[in-house]
């Protein structure tokens, strides 16, 4: 009996000690983890926009996120866009459109743009702004980039099925909806095969593809032409292959209307990425058109 008591006592002490160590480590690292994740994301966004580091981006460059919500109310489903308020205002605006894109209403949301970055805070503020028993479900976010008050580009974080599991990517579009850049954030494709989607010679192929081209291009299994490959690898970094920036731009422009060259041994992965990017672009362009129209008709002031 005494034995059992000692065992229980010692185990409890051991568990408490272990818990204290882990809890301490959690408290110490969690802040850093969030900070680094945010920094990393910002770095990726800026490099997609064409700035090598956080410092080299001009101060006039502003990123405005738009959060999209699916709202289930009595009258059926609606789409809510949580937008930052006009410059100088602290709150945000929720613009509600119906499923066909017609303007339904607009609600002020008491939430600072900084606090809106956290999903839990948004999840608390939005139902309060909606009132009643309407439920809001977070769908996705897109980011409008402005420079000196002018729209410069759009950043779309997205997720689509790959060959094995989901691929998380970030897509940058120019103002005319041609692709500015693609970055693969997370993927679990096979290393050496589908894993090559993160390589420059694959992801840079999407660069400079126009909206029109993006609607209809496919994936071809012919080998990647050598000069195109060199241009893709030289793009946006220390130029290997001895190509100047102009030459790179020229070769890329030449291939901009052509299909995507599939990775060797990973046609399905290549096709998944192409389809995923296509769907992201098309959905975004459709939604942004409706939102812009509603903003214009209702004269809702937004900073972008």
């Amino acid at each position: 009996m005494k034995d059992i008591l000692t065992i229980i006592f010692r185990l409890t002490v051991a568990c408490l000690l272990a818990g204290a160590i882990m809890g301490g480590a959690f408290v110490l690292t969690n802040q850093a983890k969030r900070h680094n994740a945010e920094l990393n994301e910002r770095q990726v966004m800026l490099s997609l926009l064409g700035y090598a580091s956080v410092k080299s981006a001009p101060a006039s460059l502003k990123l405005y996120p738009i959060y999209r919500y699916l709202i289930t109310a009595k009258g059926g489903e609606e789409i809510g866009y949580l937008l930052p308020g006009e410059a100088g205002e602290a709150g945000m605006t929720l613009v509600i459109l119906d499923l066909d894109g017609k303007f339904v209403g607009q609600r002020p949301v008491t939430l600072s743009p900084e606090a809106a970055k956290e999903e839990t805070k948004r999840a608390a503020a939005i139902p309060a702004a909606l009132g009643g028993d309407a439920k809001a479900r977070y769908a996705d976010q897109t980011i409008v980039v402005t420079e000196g008050g002018q729209r410069l580009a759009y950043l779309l974080p997205g997720r689509f099925p790959g060959f094995k599991t989901f691929i998380t990517a970030m897509l940058a579009l120019n103002q005319d909806f041609s692709i500015r850049g693609l970055e693969i954030m997370e993927s679990e494709e096979d290393p050496g095969l589908g894993g090559e989607i993160v390589q420059k010679y694959f992801k840079n192929q999407f660069k400079a593809k126009t909206l029109e081209a993006m609607r209809k291009i496919g994936v071809v299994k012919t080998p990647l032409p050598d000069e195109y490959r060199r241009a893709l690898e030289a793009d946006g970094g220390t130029g290997s292959g001895g190509l100047s920036a102009e030459q790179v731009a020229k070769i890329e422009a030449e291939y901009s209307g052509k299909d995507i060259y599939a990775l060797t041994g990973a046609t399905i992965s290549s096709r998944s990425v192409t389809e995923g990017v296509r769907a992201m672009v098309q959905k975004f362009v459709y939604r942004l058109g409706l939102l812009d129209q509603a903003l214009k008709e209702q004269k809702i002031a937004v900073p972008f």
Binding site: E77, I79, A139, P161, F163
Partner: protein
């Protein structure tokens, strides 16, 4: 002497799995399903006026996650007996997602509220695909490279392999279910996600201890056969990898059960295949440098190569 016992357990498990399938299938009256990649077939409970049904403008189809983007229906074909309508689309649909089909106005009575059908692949098919995926496509040993220590240690004899595989599957299923409950109802609500590793390994040890005690009392013969493998189960990383994956992927209860069954079954399959090969290999003339473990690795590599053939296999 052992065989009838296995069979009874397996049979019971199988019955338990199949029962709900029959019960569910009977309850549906009107349903919608995918056909190929660009068609949706609606089966109607009470056939209505063909005119209204045949007009593509009466339908609104969208993915459940994107209700604001409607997919244009190219053609709506009503079958001769008016019991089914086939909607075809220009582009391929993403059949992995649930789609919503809204029938705006049934031409017969205009005041009627729009009717909505949900179109998705059969949930049971999805569950089965998780099972088959864990069993073959993402076999834990040959494509995820987990549990190798125990795999090489216990695959010398077929009898050992079977014993280990079955013990492992049972412990796997029990501990995965417990881990799922712990994760969903304790760790997640209280934001204790960082305790995952400790809790899961604790639950595994607990399961092993419990199975050990129960088996010893209830069926000493069975214990004699399987008791030795119980200790080895803890040293197997698959047993801790499965709960971690369940937590990562936010699987629900049934999906978790399927993944655990698939993982255990996959391990059993891998052990059985390997032990069969290794028993034969004893008769072969192997160079002295390759004797023992090195040749086992090469053979495992060949199995892995073969299992690569399953990847990309799409069921349901």
């Amino acid at each position: 002497m052992m065989a009838p016992n296995y069979r009874r357990i397996l049979l019971l498990l199988l019955c338990g799995l199949l029962l709900p399938v029959a019960a569910r299938a009977a309850g549906l009256a009107a349903k919608a399903s995918f056909k190929g990649t660009n068609e949706i077939v609606l089966s109607l409970a009470n056939p209505a006026d063909a005119k209204g049904l045949g007009d593509p403008a009466n339908y609104r189809v969208s993915e459940e996650q994107n209700p604001d983007i409607s997919l244009p229906v190219a053609q709506a074909l009503v079958s001769a007996d008016r019991s089914t309508v086939t909607l075809s689309f220009k582009g391929p649909l993403n059949t992995r997602l649930t789609h919503l089909v809204t029938l705006h106005q049934r031409a017969t009575n205009k005041g009627q509220a729009p009717e909505t059908f949900r179109v998705s692949k059969s949930y049971w098919g999805y569950l089965l695909s998780i099972l088959v995926s864990a069993l073959l496509i993402n076999n834990f040993v040959f494509t995820k490279y987990l549990g190798l220590c125990v795999f090489f240690g216990t695959s010398k004899r077929k009898a050992t392999a079977k014993g280990m595989g079955i013990t492992f599957t049972i412990v796997m299923v029990v501990s995965a279910i417990m881990s799922w409950f712990f994760y969903q109802y304790i760790l997640k609500p209280y934001q204790l996600g960082f305790l995952q590793v400790v809790i899961f390994i604790g639950l595994v040890s607990l399961t092993v201890q419990a199975v050990d005690t129960v088996l010893r009392k209830v069926n000493p013969t069975l214990f004699k056969a399987f008791g030795v493998y119980l200790v080895l189960v803890i040293a197997n990383c698959v047993i801790i990898a499965v709960p971690l994956m369940l937590a990562d992927n936010e699987y629900n209860f049934l999906e978790s059960l399927m993944l655990a069954l698939g993982a255990g079954g996959g391990f059993l399959l891998a052990l059985y295949l390997m032990s069969s090969a290794r028993e034969r290999m004893e008769l072969a003339n192997i160079p002295p440098t390759f004797k023992g473990v090195p040749i086992a690795f090469i053979v495992a590599g060949q199995f892995a190569l073969a299992f690569l053939g399953f990847s990309g296999l799409k069921l349901f």
